[in-house]
């Protein structure tokens, strides 16, 4: 089964770039008993040092740019980035605003795009589970890299 190969303990950091809070509410909805993402072993941690998945809602503005870059560097490898909501994917309706730089991929590499306005909890969970597969690949690549480095 593919599921057993998935990363079993993905911890998640949620960052709000410049979202209207619509997607944020949906992200939090994922932790409620109805959706219960903890059944995948996912913990919504608030700390980049302990996170594997960086989940970003909203587009990037000029103030949040440096912050996103910094917290991304503070996450230990292997790590994946999930852009949640259309604003995070492309900038959405705010794309042409004077303060918006665009989607998350204008600042850091994004692995999974979850469109929607606001993205539905099911879609978010689906995106995160997709991200787990990528995370697993990255983990294997990282382990191989480490073995080579040590050998």
């Amino acid at each position: 089964m593919a599921k057993t190969k998935l990363a079993k303990s993905p911890w998640m950091l949620h960052y709000d770039g410049s979202s209207c809070n619509g997607c944020d509410i949906e992200v939090l909805a994922c932790t409620t008993p109805r959706y219960d993402i903890e059944r995948f072993g996912i913990i919504n941690t608030g700390d980049p040092f302990q996170a594997d998945i960086l989940l970003i809602t909203g587009g990037v503005n000029f103030q949040s740019e440096s912050v996103i870059k910094q917290i991304y560097t503070q996450m230990p490898d292997p790590k994946v980035v999930v852009a949640v909501g259309i604003c995070a994917c492309t900038g959405g309706v705010f794309k042409d605003c004077y303060n918006i730089k665009g989607g998350i991929d204008t600042v850091i590499p994004v692995d999974v795009y979850v469109p929607g306005c606001a993205a539905r909890p099911q879609a978010i969970i689906d995106g995160v589970v997709k991200a787990l597969e990528i995370l697993q690949q990255k983990r294997e690549a990282y382990a191989a890299h480490r073995r080579q480095g040590k050998a």
């Binding site: 079993k8 008993p33 919504n44 608030g46 700390d47 302990q50 503070q74 230990p76 292997p78």
Partner: protein
């Protein structure tokens, strides 16, 4: 016999601790109407943490965390080897010092705040641990855990107050609501992850294993109340420990985090009312 106790503790304590943590997460989830993570989730977490990149903010963090781990292991070993209870508890607070120093060395706003709160927590629970040792000495005439467990009657008969007090402060040691000021297992708290904010990957794994040692040691203390010279008491003690652990989980889910004042006042007053009164009675009837 001593060596067996120590080896069993050193080998099994992290496993037991992680398993209990898994049970705790499952039971908590069920209490909240969720399915919850798999039972072995803590093992997956540990496995993952060890494969992560070694990020650090300074060079001493890992050293201090490892020292924390070793001191907890020594403190627990002293208890499970049947050695001096008071020494074991002194060692426990020495271990905590290393955790506090580890967090302070990071010197970030969140870890410093967590370290400060951890110190308040240590101050809150420490009188009870010392009185607890005194209570066992009064009840059984010895500070040696080995002598305490070979009494004809379980200690809980003469010192129920101490057991209550221990259950109260154990909440701090298990890092559960309402006393999880310095760090918590839950996200979205005001101080990020408190003490552990700058701990990544293997460093955090070391910290978690240390917590499992500590958890097992605390339950060992609960067990000390129930074990006596008859072999029947051992399974009974295990059941009592599980019951105590369940009560802590229940309390965790039924309450919100409180302010440090409440922690300090609550623990000190409860210590005085339970351990203090019980100890006074023991001393008077002695």
């Amino acid at each position: 016999m001593q060596a067996i106790g120590v080896i069993l503790y050193l080998v099994l304590a992290p496993v037991v601790g992680a398993l209990l943590d898994g049970i705790d997460r499952k039971v908590s989830a069920r209490m909240q109407g969720r399915q919850g993570p798999p039972l072995l989730q803590p093992f997956y977490d540990l496995g993952k943490l060890f494969t992560k990149q070694m990020l650090a903010v300074n060079s001493v963090q890992m050293l201090l965390n490892l020292s924390y781990l070793i001191f907890l292991a020594v403190a627990g070993s002293l208890l499970f080897a049947g050695e001096d209870l008071l020494m074991s508890l002194f060692m426990l607070s020495t271990a905590d010092m290393f955790l506090v120093m580890g967090a302070s060395s990071d010197s970030s706003p969140f870890s410093t705040l967590g370290a400060g709160r951890e110190m308040i927590q240590i101050m809150a629970y420490e009188p009870m641990t010392l009185l607890l040792a005194v209570g066992f000495y009064l009840a059984t005439g010895s500070f040696q855990a080995g002598d305490i467990v070979s009494q004809p009657v379980s200690a809980v008969v003469t010192m129920p107050g101490f057991l209550l007090g221990l259950l109260f402060i154990m909440n701090i040691k298990l890092r559960k609501s309402p006393f999880d000021l310095s760090t918590s297992h839950h996200a979205h708290q005001e101080i990020v992850k408190g003490l552990t904010t700058e701990m990544a990957g293997p460093t955090l794994a070391v910290m978690s294993i240390a917590e499992y040692y500590e958890m097992t040691m605390m339950l060992g203390l609960v067990g000390l109340f129930f074990v006596n010279s008859s072999p029947v008491s051992w399974p009974l003690a295990v059941l009592a420990c599980l019951a105590a652990f369940f009560l802590e989980t229940l309390w965790d889910n039924a309450s919100a985090r409180v302010k440090w004042r409440t922690v300090l006042d609550g623990c000190w007053v409860v210590t005085l009312l339970t351990g203090g009164l019980n100890g006074l009675i023991l001393m008077l009837v002695r």
